[in-house]
Structure formats: C-alpha cells, structure tokens
Chain length 367, copies 2
Amino acid sequence: MLQTEKPKYQKLKEYIIQMIQAKELNAGDKIFSENELAERFDISRHTIRQAFSELVNEGWLYKVQGKGTFVNREPGVRVKGAKTIGVITTYLNDYIFPAIIRGVYDVLSEKGYNIALNCTYNRHEKERLCLENLLEQNIAGLIVEPTKSALPNPNIDLYKRFSTQGIPILFIHGCYRELEYSYIVEDDTEAGYMATKHLIDLGHERIAGIFKIDDIQGHYRFSGFQKAHLEAGLSISDSRIIWFETDDQDIKFKIGGTHIQDLLAQCSAVVCYNDQIALKVMDILREKGLSIPDTLSLVSFDDSQLAQASEVKLTTVAHPKERLGEEAGRSILNMIDRVQDYYDIKMQPELIIRGSTENWIGGIKNE
Amino acid sequence: MLQTEKPKYQKLKEYIIQMIQAKELNAGDKIFSENELAERFDISRHTIRQAFSELVNEGWLYKVQGKGTFVNREPGVRVKGAKTIGVITTYLNDYIFPAIIRGVYDVLSEKGYNIALNCTYNRHEKERLCLENLLEQNIAGLIVEPTKSALPNPNIDLYKRFSTQGIPILFIHGCYRELEYSYIVEDDTEAGYMATKHLIDLGHERIAGIFKIDDIQGHYRFSGFQKAHLEAGLSISDSRIIWFETDDQDIKFKIGGTHIQDLLAQCSAVVCYNDQIALKVMDILREKGLSIPDTLSLVSFDDSQLAQASEVKLTTVAHPKERLGEEAGRSILNMIDRVQDYYDIKMQPELIIRGSTENWIGGIKNE
DNA sequence: AACGCTCACTTGTGCGTACAACTTGAGGAT
DNA sequence: ATCCTCAAGTTGTACGCACAAGTGAGCGTT
C-alpha cells in the first residue's frame, strides 16, 4: 500500500509557489485559468479553486473577476515577520535622549524597520503600561532604557513574556540586576573614574560629589569616583557626597538635605552627576559671585548640548549617545536575525576638557 | 424585479459575526455543525463551508476536524482599526522636538495609541522614504512637521495617497502652501511682531534680524518683524537682515555672506531666528568682549532649554511646544473618530523677558 | 476496572453540474 | 472614426454527491 498521499490541492499549491519562487511566474503575471488547469491536471475545477483560495489568503495570488488570477506584487510578503522595534525610554526630554533615538533610528530606518516610541517617565507603573501595550503590538524586538534601574523591578514578569514569545530584548544605558538580558551601556564606572582622576591630576584633594541614587548609573559613577580616590591615596568624606533622587524638586538650593553652598565652601572641585546638575551648581555659584574655575573646578557627565551653552564651557565625560544608539540598533537587528543572541557591551566614555577645569593646576591659576 | 441580493454565504457570514458580537456565541463555544446549518437554512453544505472558510481566515472561527467549529479566543481582533499614529519630524535633536513629541505622546498613549517615529533630516528625499514606509504600515493617522516648508514639495502625490485611503493628516509647526490640509502652528508672524515690538518699546531703532530662509517659519517671523517696524514708523534696511539656510555650516562667522560682527556694529539690538542662533551670536560677542544687554540687546524665539543655560538668560518668544504637541494629539484623534474633519489652529506665543534685554531703556542702562 | 471496538458525528478531500457576473476584444452599425 | 452589441473567456455563487479521516461516547469484552 502507498503511504497516505498529500491532498491534490496541496500539491497544486506547492507547485504554484515553486513556480513563483523560481521566477517562472513573475509579479503581475496572469496565471493559467481555472478551467485550463482543471483540464491539464485532470482535477476538478473545485479543487483548483480550493488551492487558489488558500494562495490568495496567504498573499501569493489575487483574482479579478472576469479577467483572471494574477501573481501578487510581493508574493509571500505577509508571511514575513513584523518590521517594528519597540523603544522604551525613561524621559522624552532635551538631554541625551534625542541623540540616542537618532542613532537607533538611523540604523533601523536603513533596514526598513520602524520605531514604536514609548516612555515611562521613570515610573514603574508607566513602564508596566508600556510593556502591556507593546505586548499587544506585533513587534520584532525591544530596546529598553530601564526605569529606576537601581531598584528592584516589579515588571519582570512582563519582560519574560517577550522572551517566551521569541522577541529579543536589549537594554541600553543600564540594566536590571535581576535579569540576564543583553545590554549596551556606557562604562559608567570608568566615566566616574576619568572625571575624578582628571581633578586629582590637577591637584585637587577635597572633591565634592553629587550623584543620583535611584539610577544604577549614579552608583557606578560614584564607584569610579571612589576608585580614583583610592588609587591616589585620598580619603572620601561622606560629608562631601550628596545623593539626590529623581523627584527632588528643590535641587537648586539643597540636595538631599545638605545645602550646596555649605558643601562647596569646603571643597576646591566638584563632580556633578550630569550637565544639568552642573548648570544648577553654576547658577548658585554665580549668585554668590564665585567664579569657575578659579574658585571651584567642575566636572560633569554626558557632554549634552548644555555643556557648551554656558559662558564657561563644561569639562565633561562624554556619553557615547548617538554611537550607543547606533550600536543598539545594529545589535537588536542581529538578535532578530539570530546572528548573535547575547550582547554585553560597555562603551568607553571620553573626557572632554573645557573651561570649567582649565587653568587650575595645583591650586595656582596657570596662564 | 428585486435588486441584486447579497450572496447567501455573505449573509450567513454577517449573521454569525453578529451573533459573536452580541455575545450569543462566546470565545471557545462550539458552533453549529455544517450539516445542521445546511438543514436549518436550507443551504447546501458547500455554501456553509465557503462562509466558514472566510470566517476562519478573518480570525473569527477555527475548526478541528472531527470535533467541530469554534469561536476564536479574540474574535475579530485583526478587524479592529490600527492603533498607531505616524509622526514625521524634521530633526531628532535637542531643541523643541522632545517637547512636541512629549505632548503628542502623552495624549496618544492615554488613548492606547502608539507612535511610529520618522524623521526627514529636512530633506525631501528622506521625506519621501518616510512616507512610502508609513504607507505600507497600517497607521490610523499622520502628524507631520513639514520639510523645507517654504519650498515647493515634490512629495504631494504621496500625501494624497494617505487621503484617498481615508487616513487623516495633520501638519504641525508649519504647512505646505500647495496643500489644504489641517494644521496646528504657532502664530509666527505674531511671534516676530512681539519680539520686535519689545525691542522698539525699549527704545531701539536700529535692529538687526537673522532669519531662516528655507522654512516657512522664518518668513513669517520676518513678516512680524516688518509689521512692528511699519507700525512704529521705522524703516528696515536690507543690510541689517541676514538670511541663512539649513545647510550653512559656518554660521558662526558669517551668515549668508555677511560677517556678523560687521552687522552688529551698526545696531543696538538683534532679533535671532531661534535660541541656537542667539547663543552663537552671544559667543561671538563674548569673544569681542562685548556685553549683553549693555552693548547689544538680544531677542530670540522658542524658549528652549538653551534660553536659560547661558549666563545672561535669553529674552525669547516662547513656542507653545508641549501644548502644541498635545493639541496635535487631540486633533488627530478627533479626525480619526470623525468628530471634526479640519483644523487650522494658530497658537499664541508668549514673550518671556529675561536678562538679554533687561535694563536697556532708550539707550540708557536702567538700574 | 480496564481495554478495545463500533458507531454516530464532525470536518476534510474530491468530483460533478449550472448559471451569474464581469472583462475584453472582435465585429457590425452608425 | 466612433459607438454599440455580442460572444468568448474568466471568476463568483450555488447546488448536488461520495468517501476519507479524525473525535468521542457508549458498549461489550476481558
């Protein structure tokens, strides 16, 4: 006895798909009529129609009554996967977000992918909504800037749902410690080290630090701050470190309970968590009539647009921003195409020396 | 004679869809068997199968051989409309783009809509690619910041394709003169007028102007500049007006062929196209050792983050930014829901007086 | 109680027919 | 040259039949 054979309409389907793939039938070509095929293969017209009906549904063919059946413009396109990448950021602000998005967009748009933008405002509830929203979409991959990355995350379950659906996830800018997902980050410890070492090399010994407590980046930058001190044999006084949170509104006058002016009076230099904090510090100093870098040297992070907007340009450790975005775009595409499954990239920051630390060597103005 | 009636299988389809929507048939329920329906409605089983086949394809039903036909878990999900709004901007930069996107995002995410982000880099070729890309997507509406809005647009044909597909388009920030589409813009003429009048009120008579030539906003702001002069009985000298283009790289040293320092030497105030230009002008003045506002008063537009980053804070005509984004989000949703088909909103700008024009009254420093 | 068999019922495959609706081009009438 | 009609060819709708294949409940045997 013969093995159960495939149904006739199935064989006809495969035959036609093969012809299309072999370019014997091209886009827009008229295909044999139903009657012709019925006669040629000695099959009933009904069976032909069954095969055609499925081919139409799968996007290979289309029919026009009275004219005939034709090969679709891009046969089998609908069979291909989604062409959208979900992107979740913490803020949609004027800081480094635009540069990162630009990097991601440039790479993805090149390959015909789209970006579905979402934002958490650094709140776990919003993060949950974003994830639920994207789960309903048909996305091919997910790029996430983690929300409050230093705190435990209540949305792990949702992240895992993406994984079980085979949707790759890539974290940028930071990552959750609980998850072993791919990430691309700036080497924040190194950045903190570079900033602090620069000040120490200039001869500073009493250096203040202002760091953010609820993002993992703040912890790492502080860690580099410590490392540079340790290496130089300098001690770190807790009283010179200020920690602040996302929600601190009155950051201008006191940070984490300590009045900035009191702190700065004891020091000759300060490491600011980012350019925004640096500008706020500069405003306070200006009010007091203190000059930079003569009275106080100042280093910050990120090299945002703000770093060059002030009268004294900021010495800052440049975040790779746009390059990081591009790298993230390339990586998520590779993960989708299964070229590589896992990434743990630390990008090197770069120290950019400008006016806020120039001319200060060993406490003596150098001109 | 009767009008041509709908085919039987169509009527059967609609009947079943109705029953599902009316919850008479629920997810997972087993539906009548083919034979039962055939007998009940006195239709051939073949016709029933035709209707069922389409319902399966559209996701309403699924079949299991030997068991029966069942209602799908989320019947008609694919039938629902798209929940994505295409957004096309000219740049993804640190200026007012983040605020606008934030406004749009806040409104749309509230209603469960997603943003598909695109960017033209102010080039018509890129704009074309974005539009072609979004045409292939299943978007519900389109928000566009026009590319080179003062120039004729070569992509009108693509914009019209959206309209013929019933996808509403809303322009923000400017609009193409060739198209009669909905738009939401800042009243740039009024903004130009407010900025200039403020200087005239302070006693300035020789006022320079720097404007962008290839965006329609530049034209309008200049038009307000003219209006204020006319109203005050002051003449405008062409030699005090500088036009620049998107692509001008060396804007710092000369703008449109004219050296800035030569120009500014003749004037007591300058209207700058935006905050970015204003900061560049401030840098030039700082190099020359000239002070603001004593030597030169300065007004700009947009009230971006930059306006408060410099040592002398900028007097600027605030762009509605975030409010404009929110308004755009609300409007496109109304257009999708057919609540209102057409919008032509001009939002009023607001003059914010800061250090760059303070203390200058009639040429005498007022302290 | 466990197992296997049968049978009724379901959907799947396949054949046949007929006529309706639509497209197109050829040929005739104007 | 233009318009109209009609016929041939195409897909669409609708009916009929038969048997294959999978499911599950009921029955009887073990």
